[in-house]
């Protein structure tokens, strides 16, 4: 039975992530009174991109060719090592929150290098902005997960979900602070409003998109898929770490199905929240973002002081 859970855990993130991307676009379309593409369009996009040829610039080195595979692998590994629908494997070796943070940093590092590699002005700009934001979010990211690990006296994500799930509602106050700071960090890492507009065509405003302007064909598919995976990973981190009810401990069929349903409901709520946010506020000017990121850091630092 555990093998089934293990397989589901491995493939859940790559399978579901394009779906939630489609859901976000659908909700945003409805906000713009448009019908919008079907929620399965991202799957078709990936399928089409996998069946297209590639044009790679002659200035690109092996890093440009190798990065999509590495980034996709990291998202798969991360997907398998964070609590999604069951916290059965508590001794998972990869689910220490610092490992998660630094694996995300590794994927950003290589994406930024690939952005610079082709030598276009937009790629360089995109990488510079991406690395600036990544550098500033790391403080908030580590501190928000650190606050939770102090609550649970362990840095293992699975055991955090276990301990927080049987918390009484009263000492939830610091967790709300941490949740706000984690939301800010999540929005920044997955390149959503107010940090970066994923659907922009104006190259000068792009942060994440600018780095992948040069990719085409199967490499572009991998990068798009990895971005979707990363979005789902952060959503599930946000959902399962702060509202950890509904994670099964048993290994029978029904409880798995139930857990999956609860998981997708929680993720849907978060995606609607992100979509609403994207349709209601404007993108911030680049030099106002550090203040937002420092507030995230200070919020979680205060939460730690409250918790300990």
């Amino acid at each position: 039975m555990a093998i089934i859970i293990w397989i589901i855990q491995l493939i859940l993130v790559p399978i579901l992530s394009p779906l939630f991307l489609g859901v976000i676009r659908k909700i945003k379309a409805h906000f713009q009174n448009r019908v919008g593409a079907s929620i399965f369009k991202p799957y078709r996009d990936l399928w089409k991109l996998f069946h297209k040829d590639e044009v790679i610039s002659e200035d690109a080195s092996w890093i440009f060719r190798f990065t999509p595979y590495l980034i996709f692998t990291i998202t798969i590994v991360l997907g398998a090592s964070i609590p999604l629908f069951s916290n059965l494997f508590s001794n998972n070796l990869l689910s220490d929150f610092l490992t998660v943070v630094y694996l995300v940093a590794l994927s950003t590092f290589f994406l930024a290098l690939a952005g610079i590699d082709v030598g276009s002005a937009f790629g360089g700009f995109g990488s510079s902005r991406e690395m600036t934001l990544a550098a500033l979010t790391e403080g908030g990211f580590i501190f928000s997960l650190l606050a939770l690990s102090f609550l649970a006296h362990s840095t293992n994500l699975f055991s955090i979900t276990k301990t927080i799930s049987n918390f009484s509602l009263f000492d939830f106050m610091p967790i709300i602070l941490v949740f706000i700071s984690f939301m800010i960090v999540m929005l920044c890492e997955t390149a959503h409003f107010p940090f970066d507009n994923p659907a922009t065509h104006l190259e000068l405003t792009m942060v994440h998109e600018a780095m992948i302007l040069e990719y085409s064909g199967k490499r572009l598919a991998l990068i798009e898929w990895a971005a979707a995976n990363k979005f789902l990973i952060f959503l599930s981190l946000g959902a399962n770490m702060f509202f950890p009810w509904g994670l099964t401990a048993q290994a029978d069929i029904w409880s798995i199905v139930l857990a999956l349903v609860v998981f997708s409901v929680k993720i849907l709520i978060l995606t609607t929240f992100v979509a609403i946010l994207e349709s209601s506020i404007a993108k911030f000017r680049f030099f106002r973002l550090p203040d937002l990121l420092f507030t995230a850091f200070v919020l979680s630092a205060m939460a730690i002081l409250l918790i300990l």
């Binding site: 996998f50 297209k52 040829d53 044009v55 790679i56 610039s57 200035d59 690109a60 080195s61 890093i63 595979y69 692998t73 990291i74 590994v77 070796l93 990869l94 220490d96 610092l98 490992t99 630094y102 694996l103 940093a105 590794l106 590092f109 290098l113 610079i116 590699d117 082709v118 030598g119 276009s120 002005a121 360089g124 700009f125 990488s127 510079s128 902005r129 690395m131 600036t132 990544a134 550098a135 500033l136 979010t137 790391e138 403080g139 990211f141 580590i142 501190f143 690990s149 006296h153 362990s154 840095t155 293992n156 302007l213 040069e214 064909g217 199967k218 991998l222 680049f286 030099f287 002081l305």
Partner: protein
């Protein structure tokens, strides 16, 4: 054969070989290649025997003490190589071995220009000095050897004396190290005055009846003295100018290993000898650590001279090591021995890691400079197509330094994070907030270091060459690549088998005199590394393995899925404009956004100069240039006023020299009378 030769023999063999190497290279100074071969060859042999000695002490625990007492009253050439000094001997010999291999061919581009005998001589003396410094066990002998090391490194810094700013950097370095040595002397004299002997063991025994005031004074003096050598923030101004001036394999040694002697003495003196540490000592070192790491990485971001950038990163990593040492001292003063052991293990592990990846990065930078003959990152670009292997090793170095998973930087930063998390759980609110600041500092340092090395690697190796000099570059020679290859491999091995290495370092820490019976902090059965209080578990080999396996799988699945697809080589898409090299991102452009964010600290300044065709008609400009600068606040607010003070005081004192002979004799007479009077009371 291995346990045939005793550690004592191999250690002194190393020193002997270095001495022979030094003298030999002077003798063969006439013929360049022979001097080079002799100097570096002997250094290689010496470091091999040094490695043997270190390994024997670390694994088989045969530490030895050896005393030759001399005629002078309290100078005794006493060596004591316990596990801590063996650990540092291991680092020194490892990096010296690879630096000498690298130096064999790097030095070729000095052939006609400079005297290689001198380089070989001072290089070997420098290595011998460092080996002595970590094994000396008598204050007086330590000072002599410390001086030898500083002087040798001074001469190495001003080796390329054709450029005048090397000389300037050398003199600044000379003054700063000797100010440091003065403070160290003060500390030792104070120790001698209260305890009566300069031998470290004697001092260690009866440190008890040292008054608190003198202990604090010793702490302050040695903090300043060794801090200058380690390059902590307020005293770091010599480091970014001195390290780049030296030839690369020497600057790799200097910033990889020499500043670690400061750390060695911090641990030896504060943790072991002055065993009753005060709380505020640890807090002070922690705060210095935070400032050094954050400001170090910020200044590194503003640099676009590749070796200065790496030198600033040494300051940053020293800051991280000091975080470990500072938290260890805080735990010691609250006598939480287990946490102190963990933080010391973190500090020592990061020392080892920093030595390896910093030397690797300097060697990479050196081979780039030896090909392009300039240190300015803006004039590189696209080097990965001309020097693929150097680029690959530099990439591994930058991954390791920005603490990214499969490499060794990650584990030591993970360990330092664990110690700071332990610190946060202390009840006292003041210390907890300091530790939270430290954790915040370390988190931001990690992020900014990654940004800085994307800039350094991207601007140097990727995209198109930004000037034609790059087109003639070719891959560096075999021994340079071999040196870098071995170092890159060690960073990977240290990263993967971090559990095993940390157990050895635990043995080193337990060997210190306050830590004999502490064990069970963490259990690392080779694969996983788990803190005994169950707080955190990580297994570095698993990360590497899983990443590799999944990467392989993904590659093959995608290959099968899309094998019918062709890959066409086109030119970079840039909205259809004609793309010249000037349009790609440069190092200054990359870091400009971060500099603007931290402009309060860095105080960037921008000056426009516009030159018009003719005076009255202001429309057509002939040339327009922008000067971007970073204000060096230390120079302006700390060193310049100090300098003016000293100058004004000395000009006041100068009036004594009025030229009259008799006046001088009168001064002597007065002093004699005063002395007679004072001592007759």
């Amino acid at each position: 054969m291995f346990n045939l030769i005793s550690t004592q023999f191999s250690f002194f063999l190393a020193l002997l070989l270095l001495a022979i190497g030094a003298i030999g290279s002077l003798i063969f100074a006439k013929k360049d290649w022979l001097a080079n071969l002799w100097g570096n060859g002997l250094a290689i042999l010496a470091s091999v025997s040094g490695l043997v000695a270190a390994v024997k002490v670390l694994f088989f625990g045969e530490s030895f003490t050896y005393v030759i007492n001399s005629t002078l009253p309290n100078l005794s050439f006493s060596f004591m190589v316990d596990k801590l000094s063996a650990f540092f001997i291991f680092i020194i010999s490892l990096i010296a071995l690879l630096a000498s291999i690298y130096g064999l061919s790097y030095v070729k581009h000095f052939y006609k220009k400079y005297n290689l005998g001198v380089l070989g001589f001072f290089y070997n003396i420098f290595l011998a000095g460092m080996l002595f410094v970590v094994s000396a066990h008598n204050g007086f002998f330590f000072l002599i050897v410390w001086e030898v090391m500083s002087l040798a490194s001074y001469f190495l810094v001003i080796f390329e004396n054709k450029e005048k700013n090397n000389i300037k950097a050398g003199s600044l370095y000379f003054i700063m190290t000797h100010v440091g040595t003065a403070f160290i002397m003060l500390a030792f004299l104070l120790l001698y005055k209260t305890i009566g002997s300069l031998d470290f063991n004697v001092i260690k025994e009866n440190i008890g009846h040292m008054s608190l005031l003198s202990k604090n004074l010793v702490f302050i003096f040695s903090l300043i003295g060794f801090g200058i050598k380690a390059g902590i923030i307020p005293f770091h101004i010599w480091l970014p100018s001195a390290h780049p001036a030296a030839p690369t394999h020497v600057s790799a040694l200097m910033s990889g290993v020499m500043i670690k002697t400061g750390i060695y003495m911090f641990i030896r003196l504060f943790v072991e000898i002055l065993s009753g540490t005060e709380l505020w000592w640890g807090v002070l070192i922690l705060i210095i650590g935070i400032f050094s790491s954050l400001l170090g990485v910020l200044y590194a971001l503003t640099e676009h001279d590749i070796k200065r950038l790496l030198a600033f990163h040494s300051i940053e990593n020293i800051g991280i090591i000091l975080l470990g040492v500072g938290s260890a001292m805080i735990f010691l003063s609250l006598n939480l021995k287990t946490m102190a052991t963990l933080s010391l293990v973190a500090a020592l592990f990061h020392t080892l890691n920093h030595a390896t990846f910093k030397a690797l990065l300097f060697m990479g930078a050196g081979s780039v400079i030896s090909q392009t003959h300039t240190r300015n990152i803006e004039e590189y670009g696209g080097l990965i197509k001309f020097m693929p292997q150097t680029a690959f090793y530099f990439l591994i170095g930058s991954l390791a330094i920005s603490a990214l998973p499969p490499f060794n930087g990650f584990f030591s930063e993970w360990l330092t994070f664990q110690t700071i998390f332990n610190g946060i759980q202390i009840s006292d609110i003041f210390i907890k907030s300091i530790f939270i600041l430290a954790a915040g500092g370390l988190a931001f340092t990690g992020g900014l270091a990654a940004a800085c090395f994307v800039k350094a690697f991207g601007a140097t190796f990727l995209a198109r060459p930004r000037n034609e000099k790059v087109l003639q570059t070719k891959e560096s020679s075999f021994s340079m690549r071999f040196g870098m290859g071995v170092l890159a491999f060690t960073t990977l091995i240290l990263g993967i088998f971090a559990g095993v290495v940390s157990k050895i370092i635990l043995g080193v820490v337990n060997n210190l005199n306050g830590f004999q019976q502490i064990s069970g902090i963490f259990s690392g059965q080779g694969k996983t590394f788990e803190l005994s209080n169950g707080f955190a578990i990580v297994s570095t080999p698993m990360i590497f393995l899983i990443l590799l396996v999944v990467l392989f799988l993904v590659y093959w699945i995608v290959k099968i899925l899309t094998n019918k697809r062709k890959v066409k080589i086109g030119c970079t898409w840039d909205c259809g404009t004609k793309l010249e090299p000037r349009m790609e991102i440069t190092a200054t452009g990359f870091a400009r956004s971060i500099i603007m964010i931290f402009k309060g600290v860095l105080k960037p300044s921008k000056k426009f100069e516009v030159e018009y065709q003719d005076a009255d008609m202001r429309y057509f400009t002939k040339s327009r240039n922008i000067k971007l600068e970073i204000a060096d606040i230390y120079q302006v607010y700390f060193y310049q006023p100090l300098y003016n003070l000293v100058i004004s005081f000395s000009s006041y004192v100068k009036r004594i020299q009025n030229g009259i002979l008799n006046a001088y004799v009168a001064y002597i007479f007065l002093i004699l009378l005063i002395l007679l009077l004072t001592f007759s009371f």
